[in-house]
Symmetry: C2
Subunit: 341 residues, 2 copies
């Protein structure tokens, strides 16, 4: 991916609540977001819409955006296609010399007009959902790196593994740990500015696509926090979870859960097992490749109204887990970091 400094984020008509990539980038990316494109809310600030977001101006179109070196598509329609109402913005960005960063199923590099404009104005189009061609099978070498490898694993999809991982990296850095984030999905890649879309690679290369990243960063940092995907009990996505577990050869696991979840999201016939069962499954499955342990938990309490109830939920979660736990979004994470790392 390009290494942008000043980024405009496209989030028309979905900002902020249906714009997970846009809000993720606003909260966690190292580069500066200089504007959000949302034709529904021009003249407001991101922080007007959600208090955890920074004060970034919202404008109607790329024509109104300040100087930038990249336009990032921060939303996806159902199906992952390209919304033609975005074409003017992408065209304007390319004409202004901006790179494009997108994670759609539809690759913008395959769009004739955009490809021609990118060529004419010397811009890169980064389709982050497209794996690079050299990804291959794992060699079983991730455990050889100097860094301690920590992996977030989940009870289900969409329980907040990416967010928890990013929060843990930030909290670890604040505690003086030389930590880095290993992205495995498109939003994580856009935030980190690099990475393999593990859920999009050829199935035989799932573990290999994770190992490649661990080997690339493993001697540069003291701790790598790997973004987990899916769940080992998921009827559709467990393959990706298993490939990440064995490809990362993690030294420590953090179990992520959403406090109101009791069945697989979208597959409600499949009840979630007990937490103790998750711990056994993850630890026992990892062991033949690399011994590991669930050392803590991250509970997503976003559906719990009061902080008091949320704190009680975290405490109950920690008790059931038999390990320290935190909601790293809602509560201070310093004590958790000190205890676990």
């Amino acid at each position: 991916m390009s290494d942008p400094q000043r980024v405009v984020v496209l989030a028309h008509e979905k900002f902020p609540d249906r714009a997970k990539t846009a809000t993720g980038v606003l909260k966690y990316a190292d580069y500066d977001v200089v504007a959000v494109l949302d034709r529904d809310n021009p003249g407001t600030s991101a922080s007007d819409h959600r208090r955890d977001l920074p004060d970034v101006p919202i404008v109607s179109s790329m024509a109104d955006a300040p100087d930038a070196d990249a336009l990032l598509v921060g939303i996806a329609p159902i199906g992952g296609g390209f919304d033609e109402t975005w074409r003017d913005d992408v065209r304007t960005a390319l004409e202004r010399g901006c790179d494009i960063i997108a994670g759609l199923h539809y690759f913008l590099n395959d769009d004739e007009e955009f490809a021609a404009l990118a060529d004419e104005y010397g811009c890169d189009i980064n389709d982050v959902r497209k794996p690079h061609d050299d990804i291959g099978v794992a060699q079983g070498k991730s455990a050889d790196v100097d860094a301690e490898v920590v992996l977030t694993v989940g009870t289900d999809c969409s329980v907040g593994k990416m967010t928890a991982t990013l929060e843990l990296v930030e909290a670890a850095r604040e505690q003086g740990i030389d930590a880095s984030f290993i992205p495995t999905g498109q939003t994580g890649i856009m935030i980190a500015g690099w990475g393999n879309p593990v859920d999009r690679v050829v199935s035989d290369f799932t573990a290999g696509s994770v190992e490649e990243m661990i080997l690339e960063k493993g001697d540069e940092y003291d701790v790598l926090f790997v973004e987990g995907q899916g769940s080992i009990t998921h009827p559709a996505y467990s393959a990706v979870t298993c490939g990440i577990l064995h490809g990362a050869m993690a030294d420590k696991l953090i179990l992520c859960h959403e406090s109101s979840r009791d069945a697989i999201h979208g597959y409600e016939d499949f009840a979630l097992p007990e937490l103790s069962e998750y711990i056994s499954l993850y630890e026992n499955l990892a062991a033949p490749v690399h011994e590991t342990e669930v050392v803590g938990g991250a509970l997503n309490t976003s559906k719990v109204e009061t902080d008091e109830e949320a704190a009680a939920a975290v405490e109950a979660f920690a008790d059931e887990l038999g390990a320290p736990a935190v909601d790293p979004v809602r509560f201070d994470t310093a004590a958790f970091i000190d205890e676990v790392f």
Copy 2:
């Protein structure tokens, strides 16, 4: 894939011992193999080279082959490329109106000369390693089919899961069971004449690519035998194994092992766990999606010299497993089928 009746199998210079696809097709495919191409052994018969192979003539080139409706590439060079010394044979086949069936990394459909010839002579080129475009995520519905689903699972790659599965299908049919084979790899697909290359699909679709096949065949047969891949403890390929386990939602598992194996092939730092550990891993991992049980074992004794030693190895394997076992290639499998199904 095409539905061929009379097939020529290309296996130049590697027949029979380095031609796993060619020998698999010779032994198990329902269509007739009318000739093998091997420029090293013209004038001989397949059965001259290995007594478990049928009496099929070996000829030097496609020009010498009898009437056929397909040419199947039954070998692969390291890397999966196309060997240019095969070009004349493929060209001749197309000019004679034969379809082409290949499982190379290099897609013959992308070869300009072959594509033009196929077009001119009205032939299909089947690149079986290329997944079709409609494969998607699993819905968790494989258990809804009428058929009992049996999956072969392994202690490692290359322990003979495909062969065991095919032998079990044959033995089951001989015992009067209306059984069918669900292929998941390229050789299996070539033998069956249909199927998804599960190890080549997008990782998110691993389970879905298996489910699609189960749903397609599940109401046509009483028992489906699904070809397993890899091993749940494999440092590189476990993702595919896990996706097949959850995608198939198997009612019964058959654990496959090769009698001399004690570490992962090609990854010798990784010792194989005890058989009891494999049973726990497979059963416990499957359970949250669909309860299942290891009901028997298939031991590959091809490296054991005498039948007496092999029988003893199978008996020891069964004891350790706590379930019936057989080497379905070496020994009669009828009693095993009666006991387990």
